[in-house]
């Protein structure tokens, strides 16, 4: 049984069919990339999985349980967390608070114990802070020490992306959905991010489903690639096969380009 099973997912917004019969699986320990031109429905797919939108038809199953009709917070409880393409950090709060809030749903103490600061609550609070530091350490010293107490609004764009990923990890989820984790990063930072995502899988034990436009990152880390176009699944499989698929090249570059041999020689989308 696959960790995440997406079957025949459909979603329309008024007249716009944003998702048509999309099915694929994610196995535990895999890194799967979803690619496709702008407006292909990649973010919509994430929103459907995480309960922001409910699908018109079709099913999403996580470890055998259906996610359809569940609230986003319940889906996090089950073990799926996401990042947002347009960054939705808690901007006026410190990084530490940003990484502590996602751990709140795991808290066993109730609100009275929290107000009274019972030993059990204090212990949990301490553990949450340790866990936060552990997750932030994936990004080296960049988000550590004094930065922990700075509000997010003073952070650089790249550091905000990193914080978002750390925040998703802090939920305790096993499956992470990363929406363009390297957007707005320079080539050097992108390479660093590629390595970090690999380490998240290898050392952190996370299964990762990601959306990316940067093909070098996708090619480097993906076990499989799923291509979406106009809400339909165009192709799925190995990165090399997918990028050389004429249909995929057509979706990205338009009809004319497929006739152009040059496009193929240059290695498709790269």
């Amino acid at each position: 049984m696959a960790m995440l099973e997406i079957s025949n997912l459909n979603k329309s917004f008024g007249g716009l069919q944003a998702m048509t019969d999309v099915s694929f699986n994610v196995n535990e320990g895999e890194i799967i990339s979803v690619i496709g031109p702008n407006g292909a429905g990649k973010t919509t797919l994430f929103n459907l999985i995480t309960g922001v939108y409910t699908p018109d038809s079709g099913d999403v199953r996580f470890q055998g349980q259906s996610l359809v009709g569940k609230k986003p917070s319940q889906i996090v409880d089950m073990g799926i967390a996401r990042t947002f393409q347009n960054l939705r950090l808690f901007t006026n709060l410190s990084i530490m608070d940003n990484i502590l809030i996602p751990q709140h749903h795991k808290l066993k103490s109730n609100w009275l114990q929290a107000i009274l600061r019972t030993p059990a609550y204090k212990k949990e609070e301490e553990e949450m802070r340790k866990f936060a530091l552990e997750k932030l350490s994936f990004f080296g010293p960049r988000l550590m020490s004094f930065r922990l107490y700075q509000p997010v609004l003073v952070l650089s764009y790249a550091n905000r992306r990193r914080s978002e990923i750390a925040r998703a990890m802090a939920t305790g989820a096993k499956l992470l959905l990363l929406d363009e984790p390297s957007a707005g990063m320079n080539p050097k930072e992108t390479i660093e991010m590629t390595k970090i995502i690999k380490r998240m899988r290898d050392e952190g034990g996370y299964t990762i489903l990601l959306v990316e436009h940067k093909m070098n990152l996708v090619g480097e880390i993906s076990d499989r690639v799923v291509v979406l176009d106009y809400g339909k699944k165009l192709a799925e499989g190995d990165y090399k096969d997918v990028v050389n698929n004429p249909e995929v090249i057509e979706a990205y570059l338009g009809k004319k380009a497929t006739d152009d041999d040059k496009a193929k020689k240059d290695g498709g989308l790269e």
């Binding site: 939705r88 608070d97 502590l100 009274l116 609070e125 340790k130 020490s145 998703a168």
Partner: protein, 466 residues
């Protein structure tokens, strides 16, 4: 890396000791003020504490949860009326029964802590000396009643967002007051007559009121700095993101709302005691308006700021009567002229401090010329024989507060202290968000152009996007 400073609050024991010391200091200051000061001062201090309870609890919803609630006066009414009904003395109850205008029944008139203690055999607690205990029970029940209503109101309405929710809370505040006067509820609330003769020794006592204020600040700040409070602040910052991070929105909103209503009920109980009676027009929307002014002036979200704002509002309310007295019309005009001149001065000072250019803007000349003209007019008017007579400044206090609010909103939109909070680390200038010498070197490594491309981590080139 596993530095304990990030896991355990540094200097925790010192801070606890300092807090205890400061509390004792406040108590001593109150002792001195109440024994030396006038009755008026004592009553103003008590009012500050009572309204402080109301604003600090309102701030939990408006500042921490980020929900604009406009119905605080309704919850205060429930706490106030419950307290008044349960604590009223026997002769007052007899008077109500004997009065032909009251619609209270013998059963509802008999609802008192006195009768309850008698019924369960605790007659020792029904003496005059133990009134304080009965008041304590009554006010806690008042708080509980308010929080139950908060729960009932909160569960359906907190699903709404933004403006809609604000309108609903405003509506509920008014509905509570209006239903209290209807025929269905007047056997309990005594309708438009209300209750008079509520003992004033608690609401007017700085000890009682400040003790409750202390408890309120303790509980609400502990809640704010707990995991639950962080979740609430997350909701304030971004609802969608908090939900995507596993925060149960409905639960935390209702929790904040119920805790806030509880303390509103307590404030209501002390408020009727301060007033010496419970009447429907002691719980008008103006009450919530004053609280909102205190929040905005002090700094929504900050307990420290909210208390500063409350002090200001209470000061204007209690000591603002000179503003509402009768003066010569020319005196009023002179005052306006002086205010205009002071505004011109303030503009000049602010632009100098902030080093804004140009230093002198047209508005400065405008205020200066208008101010001078008004002052000249006021001084010449008597000899010209115009604008004679007196004018009584009814409602001048509210106008003064509004002007104050406008000034604060222009110069400090986040209120006097913003979201900052008083704490000992701030007093000792221990700033965790500033790098130490060692960390500065590390940072130099991070931003070193040799090791990192120019611009470093701050480089946000989107070139290869799309």
């Amino acid at each position: 890396m596993q530095d304990t400073k990030h896991i355990v609050q540094p200097n925790r024991n010192r801070n606890i000791l300092l807090t205890i010391f400061a509390t004792v200091l406040v108590a001593v200051a109150l002792l001195i003020l109440t024994s030396l000061g006038s009755v008026k001062l004592g009553s103003a201090l008590a009012l500050f504490a009572i309204w402080g309870i109301a604003t600090v609890s309102l701030n939990l919803v408006n500042g921490t949860l980020g929900i604009l609630s406009l119905g605080h006066h309704g919850f205060m009414l429930i706490g106030g009326y419950t307290t008044a009904l349960l604590i009223l003395s026997d002769d007052k109850r007899e008077k109500i029964l004997a009065s032909g205008r009251s619609s209270m029944t013998p059963f509802t008139v008999g609802l008192s802590i006195d009768n309850f203690f008698n019924a369960i055999g605790l007659t020792a607690f029904t003496t005059d000396e133990t009134l304080w205990l009965r008041f304590l029970v009554a006010i806690l029940l008042g708080g509980l009643m308010a929080s139950v209503v908060g729960l009932i109101v909160g569960i359906p309405s907190l699903r709404l967002r933004g403006d809609y929710l604000a309108i609903v809370t405003f509506g509920f505040g008014e509905i509570i007051r209006l239903t209290a006067s209807t025929r269905i509820f007047s056997p309990i609330t005594n309708g438009a007559l209300g209750f008079s003769g509520v003992p004033t020794e608690f609401g007017k006592s700085v000890w009682w009121t400040f003790a409750f204020l202390g408890i309120t600040i303790y509980v609400i700040s502990k809640l704010k700095y707990s995991s639950f409070g962080r979740a609430m602040e997350g909701i304030r910052e971004d609802e969608i993101a908090s939900e995507a991070m596993g925060v149960n929105l409905a639960y935390h909103k209702v929790l904040g709302f119920v805790v806030s209503s509880f303390f509103a009920g307590i404030a209501g109980g002390l408020w009727v005691s301060w007033l010496g009676g419970a009447r429907l027009d002691s719980f008008l929307f103006t009450l919530t308006f004053f609280f909102l002014v205190a929040l905005s002036v002090g700094g929504t979200g900050s307990i420290t700021g909210v208390l500063l704002g409350t002090a200001l509002v209470v000061f204007v309310r209690q000591y603002g009567d000179p503003l509402e007295q009768s003066y010569l019309i020319t005196t009023w005009i002179l005052a306006i002229g002086v205010i205009l001149l002071l505004t011109a001065l303030a503009i000049y000072i602010f632009r100098t401090i902030r080093r804004s250019r140009p230093k002198i803007i047209p508005a400065f000349y405008l205020f200066l010329i208008a101010g001078v003209a008004t002052v000249v007019l006021a001084l010449l008017a008597p000899s010209l024989g115009i604008m004679q007579g007196e004018f009584r400044g009814f409602g001048m206090r509210a106008i003064f507060l509004s002007i104050l609010l406008i000034i604060i909103m222009v110069f400090r939109p986040d209120g006097m202290v913003g979201r900052a909070e008083f704490n000992w680390a701030w007093v000792f200038r221990e700033r965790l968000d500033q790098p130490t010498e060692e960390e500065r070197k590390q940072d130099a490594w991070l931003s070193n152009p040799e090791l990192n491309r120019p611009g470093g981590a701050a480089n946000t080139s989107d070139v290869e996007e799309d």
